[in-house]
Subunit: 313 residues, 2 copies
Amino acid sequence: MKIVALAGGVGGAKLAEGLSKYLEHGQLTVIVNTGDDLDLFGLHISPDLDTVCYTLAGLANPTTGWGQKEETWEVFRTLSKIGSPDWFRLGDHDLAIHLERTRLLAEGMTLTEVTQRLCSKLGVTNQVLPMSDQTVHTMVHTRDNRRLSFQEYFVKEQCQPVVTRFEFDGIEKANPSINGISAIQECDLVVFCPSNPWVSIDPILNLGNIREIIKQKRIVAVSPIIGGKTLKGPAAKMFEELGIQPSAAAVAEHYRDILTGFILDTIDRSSVELIRGWGIIPLVTETIMRSMEDRMQLAKETINFGLSLPLKG
Amino acid sequence: MKIVALAGGVGGAKLAEGLSKYLEHGQLTVIVNTGDDLDLFGLHISPDLDTVCYTLAGLANPTTGWGQKEETWEVFRTLSKIGSPDWFRLGDHDLAIHLERTRLLAEGMTLTEVTQRLCSKLGVTNQVLPMSDQTVHTMVHTRDNRRLSFQEYFVKEQCQPVVTRFEFDGIEKANPSINGISAIQECDLVVFCPSNPWVSIDPILNLGNIREIIKQKRIVAVSPIIGGKTLKGPAAKMFEELGIQPSAAAVAEHYRDILTGFILDTIDRSSVELIRGWGIIPLVTETIMRSMEDRMQLAKETINFGLSLPLKG
């Protein structure tokens, strides 16, 4: 059995961790959004890749949703003191990863190779892949006519601006990860983790021919919206600002042309018929992942449900 | 009164500190070797500039001769753990300076402007200037036919290889610091700090027309070689490997075409006549700087002696 998961940050990383614990070694490939990547101090920072890798390595900070646990802030303290921009907090141990990534990229390694190397050093045993080795920048257009990089929107402006649309700079020239395409072609199931549809999953789906290749597989998405809200992150706020009532059903509709199955929380069970009407098979279950048991339970249900779905096409 | 000091690392920084304490604010300009600069992890590291700035800011580590006192090693610890090259030790607070320097250079500031900004943030009140805003790389040729960057020779190989000659890559295209040239033109005395003649002072003197401009001034050098040895660094070893008996006199001879005066340690007083024979006026005094009082005392004697010298030309 081979599973491919598409993921962004926190929510995606949690389900990816559940999948990695539930599956055997080598069965899981996680393809991670890199549209949020940024350059700070000349360093290549990949926040979603780090969140997924730290989570799978057991190093993730459980309270912040980013960075490492047991982090120290010596460098950042001095940076603040000398007047460097401090809107993006860089922990010391996190910084070491950015330094090594930047060094290896400068040596000519691809982001895929760098990520494999870092994963191996951190003890991550499943395959984690950047969505592309080329640069894609998710840009957020706002109602006050600004065009912000994702991290400016997300971290610096704390998701306050009202969004009007998204652009993925560089996506026409970027190729989807070759290893990612192989993993999809060989897999039995593609899982869209409960990540932000607009800025975590869409960048991946818009890369080259990846959508067409995924379409030939069983695809199950787990809703990041529960009872009209997101546990973390701006997905619900984005739906609303784009003129769509935020709901699990809205997520299913967003992926309507591609999904085989959709997992939504028990609190949203009233949407089941609507979703079925779009030709998507729904599964209602508990989707909030508070503990490791929750993550493994949701992973198990996602796999069992996904594998039971009819193969399209 | 205006004084310009040329300096490399530790010994130079000590006398520069003495000069900065002895002189009034605004009287001292230190022009610092940047031939040792290196790029690690994509960061622009300027070891000699940092040593001088940290020393003038009272932040220097008194035992290592590089880096900051009360340093922490969180980033470096993780870098070592994930298998990054760890021959060049990067302290957390030191690293913050490299990050900010790299950021400001990427924004388009010159190294001179960046250094001014960092000095101001660190509380350095005298002017510290890189010798050039362009890149010069001091390369060390070795008897086993290798060509090492200075930091590879100095840090990675601990000065073990036998040197045959030095090259300053990029020096033909590099311009001396404009502010440095102005400071020299306006000054009453140029001091060559007790730094390595081959790899700290020579790179500065070989930049553009700086040697010709300096030549019109009173120039006093303080010997970095005391009793045939250096307190720190490979200057004496280099003289020997280049076939020259290491001595204070050898240093004076190295600068023979340019010096007005030369300060040597009491232990080397027997060289006085030899040096005088080259048309250089010697001053014998205690030159070992153990305490701040020593630094200020040597600074005071250097200035008084230097200003009493006849103006050449």
